[in-house]
Amino acid sequence: MKVRVKFSKEGPIKFIGHLDVMRYFQKAIRRAKIDIAYSAGFSPHPILSFASPLSVGHTSQGEYFDMELNSLSDIHELRERLDGEMAQGIRILDAAILSEGEQNAMASVAAAGYRVSFRNPCVFPEHLEQELVSFYERDQIPVVKKTKKGEREINLKEGIYHLEIRDHEVYMLLDAGSGSNLKPGFVLEAFFAEKEIPLPEFPFQIHRLETYKMEEDGRLVPLLGGDAWEK
């Protein structure tokens, strides 16, 4: 049986990278004595898959992984037990048994919501807020994206499902599908580059609000429970 777990990652623990978070959960699952299934072979490893990596330094309240279990007594108890093994900064927000045929977390990721704040408010004065909204409202936002194979031009607009500014913070809903994933920092850097405004090092604090999958009717819903995304 497959169980999906939702967790948050906040505070100093944001400096732990994705691979280390995976190792951290493998150990936490053992400590919590969860009857996870293992792969075959000489060095069996727990069957665990994460939805979408979070960059070092980013925080989140919408992280997910799936795990394959041999047995489960009670899903609420599992959630409590796993939450009891967390280091400060990581909380287990939810856990649920996946229905048969549900796609795995990684394959189902379609979009992610972010909140970006500026470490130094002077970098993002009010007149720029308006300009950022206008930037987003254009039909086409051609930018050059550097990839491993070189550079190619993409239309940024296609990947930004929504953008608004509330209380000097930028809220974005971005394409997070494999291959088309758009990072919030990349969007803002493109905007500042177009304005020819230099950015200081590490200008943003990025917080992931939620990770979404796409329903057959095209609605975006969180990977676990919750309501479909609406403006």
């Binding site: 936490a28 400590r31 060095s43 900064g89």
Partner: protein, 630 residues
């Protein structure tokens, strides 16, 4: 406490620009948090190297656990900032901090530094410097932490004695309570640093260097070392935990977030070694051999696996094959680990039918390699170093291994051992070649999957204090390199040379390590000078700056050769002679003479040699055996 309230010593901006910021944030699973207002003593325990190395060290985990069991003490951890953060801390004048509280080290009562290898000495100065603690103990005041050193290099503390207020000689389990209580008493009245140190010198195992005076002969060797105060004993006997089955051991080791060198549960099965290899310092320092009970090991293995969630467990000892209940322990581990899907790692096993059977059960034969440590290429030289491993045993072990499916073999040798000749060195290639030949004889062509892979590695021999070779000369850099080139040449002349790969260590750093290992008080100024010139992380070859070290020696007017290339006279007073590790100098001298004669000495289990370690009243010295009683 809300997590976002735990304030880090470093800003996000700094943490984002350094490599592996997780080295500096603490908060790992099982890290101990206490309320600093509810403890009397704050202890910062430091391993003077980078986090991934320091977090892999068992000794620190034991002491950290022990000190935190004391209600009045909060022990925190501290490692060297990597070179990138080092530059930031200096530029922005941020004081070095301990991981748990993130508070500056200079506000602590104690700074404990473990001394595991000589090449970390400049990193000690880095730690003191970044903490804002005066580098020289004599310049410290009432508010500076008491800087205490311990670990194997504390058995010759003289080259670094001016940087430490005191040294703890021997095993940490026994005297910290007494030392900390004394400190608390002294703190209650107006704290007088010197008065505290004089009282501390009265605690067994504690060495306070400032209470001694050393005089030298004209030839530079020591004339005498005298205590200046009645509290300071003329000789200091090492501390030893007599009962390893009823003592401190961590039930909840700290689990790092990032991958570290030893990323597993570590079960120390015994201390000491029965073997008595004449080059080996650990083999003498940790005498007598003391085993932990099977019941103790079972209990702690289960507790540590449960509290850490590690997926691997490793046995730790100098020679695990000599643990008397190894088969029972391994049976237990194999069963338990199969159930829990835990990997077992078994270093330091001698290759024989038993160990090969065990290894084939716990690891993938095709992916793993076997390790032999003949240490010397010829039987003659193996007898000189008292390495009780014969060519027949090695070749038979190799044959069994190849039959069992292994195809990769690692061989460890030393170059520059006392009385070594060209023919001994040629033996390295010849032995490697014979092992390869055994493979081609044992494994029929149709079953081979390519060549056998033999990797022969040599390190350069460095004489260490408290070993029978403490009198021996060490090779010069050029001699070391000639020996390495000769080894390479003779390997390339072997029939199976295509199956043999050869690696050797760097020579410059080995020479410096040898200077530090048998150095005296005069080296303090050289280390200080080298540090001020920019030397640190000397154990990392990419950061080792030999030219700066040589400049430092020259400017201090110290001849490095004095410490290495001369053979020392049997009547010479060594800088470490005031310490007593339990093994007598007479015994070591006898062993040095037996080495010269090529005489093999039986191991402790075969027959007691009267080394002196029986005075501790415990361990192998009091077990029944075939030979005479101690």
């Amino acid at each position: 406490m809300d997590i976002r309230m735990r304030k880090l010593a470093l800003s996000d901006e700094i943490l984002m620009q350094v490599e592996k910021p997780a080295r500096y944030i603490g908060n790992e699973i099982n890290a101990v948090m206490k309320d600093k207002d509810l403890v009397k003593v704050r202890f910062a325990m430091c391993f003077p190297d980078v986090y991934e190395i320091g977090m892999s060290h068992l000794g620190i985990q034991i002491i950290y656990d022990m000190l935190n069991r004391f209600e009045d003490v909060w022990c925190e951890r501290l490692y060297c900032p990597w070179v990138d953060l080092d530059a930031v801390l200096r530029r922005e004048r941020i004081p070095l901090f301990a991981l748990e509280s993130q508070d500056p080290v200079r506000d602590f009562d104690f700074l404990g530094i473990t001394l595991q290898y000589e090449m970390c000495y400049t990193n000690i100065l880095q730690i003191l410097d970044l903490s804002g603690i005066p580098l020289l103990a004599g310049d410290r005041g009432a508010e500076d932490p008491i800087v205490i050193g311990g670990g194997p290099c504390a058995y010759n503390p003289e080259p670094i004695c001016e940087f430490f207020d005191l040294f703890y000689i021997g095993e940490g389990e026994t005297r910290y309570r007494e030392l900390i209580s004394l400190y608390e008493d002294c703190r209650e009245t107006g704290f007088d640093r010197k008065a505290f140190l004089r009282k501390a010198a009265g605690i067994p195992g504690i060495y306070v260097p400032s209470l001694y005076e050393v005089s030298y002969k004209e030839d530079g060797t020591i004339e005498a070392m005298r205590p200046l105060y009645p509290e300071a004993p003329a000789t200091i006997l090492k501390e030893l935990e007599c009962d390893l089955s009823h003592t401190y051991y961590p039930e909840k080791p700290v689990v790092p977030f990032i991958k570290v060198t030893q990323d597993r549960v570590v079960l120390e099965i015994q201390r000491g070694c029965i073997r008595g290899c004449r080059f080996c310092q650990a083999g003498q320092l940790y005498r007598p051999v003391r085993e932990r009970d099977l019941a103790f090991l079972r209990e702690y293995a289960l507790k540590m696996l449960a509290s850490t969630g590690h997926d691997e467990i490793s046995l730790s000892s100098l020679s695990s094959s000599d643990y008397s209940k190894l088969p029972e322990l391994i049976d237990f581990l194999i069963e338990e680990c199969r159930r829990q899907k835990i990997n077992i790692s078994l270093p330091s096993l001698r290759i024989d039918a038993f160990s090969l059977d065990v290894m084939s059960k716990v690891q993938d034969v095709k992916k793993s390699s076997l390790t032999f440590a003949p240490e010397a290429g010829s039987q003659r030289l193996r007898d000189i170093i008292n390495k009780g491993l014969s060519e027949e045993v090695i070749l038979e072990g190799a044959r069994l291994a190849f039959e069992g499916g292994w195809t990769r073999v690692k061989l460890y040798f030393m170059l520059g051992l006392p009385f070594e000749t060209e023919s001994d060195i040629r033996g390295i290639g010849e032995l490697s070649n014979k092992i390869a030949a055994v493979f081609y004889e044992t494994v029929p062509k149709e079953k081979r999957n390519g060549r056998v892979q033999i990797v022969a590695s040599t390190s350069f021999f460095i004489p260490k204090p408290f070993t029978p070779f403490q009198w021996a000369p060490q090779c010069r850099r050029e001699e070391f390199l000639e020996k390495a080139y000769f080894t390479r040449k003779t390997i390339s002349e072997q029939l199976n040379q295509k199956s043999i790969k050869y690696n050797w260590h760097e020579a410059d750093a080995s020479v410096l390590e040898g200077i530090m290992a048998r150095g005296d008080r005069k080296l303090n100024q050289v280390i200080l000078s080298a540090y001020k010139k920019g030397c640190f992380y000397d154990a990392w070859s990419e950061h080792y700056k030999n030219d700066l070290w040589m400049q430092a020696f020259e400017e201090c007017g110290i001849d490095p050769d004095f410490y290495t290339v001369r053979e020392r006279g049997t009547d010479e007073i060594f800088p470490w002679d005031f310490l007593d590790c339990g093994v007598s100098k007479e015994f070591l001298l006898k062993e040095w003479q037996r080495a010269r004669a090529g005489d093999v000495t039986p191991n402790c289990r075969e027959q007691c040699q009267g080394c002196g370690a029986s005075r501790f009243g415990t361990g192998i010295c009091y077990e029944k055996r075939g030979g005479r009683e101690a």
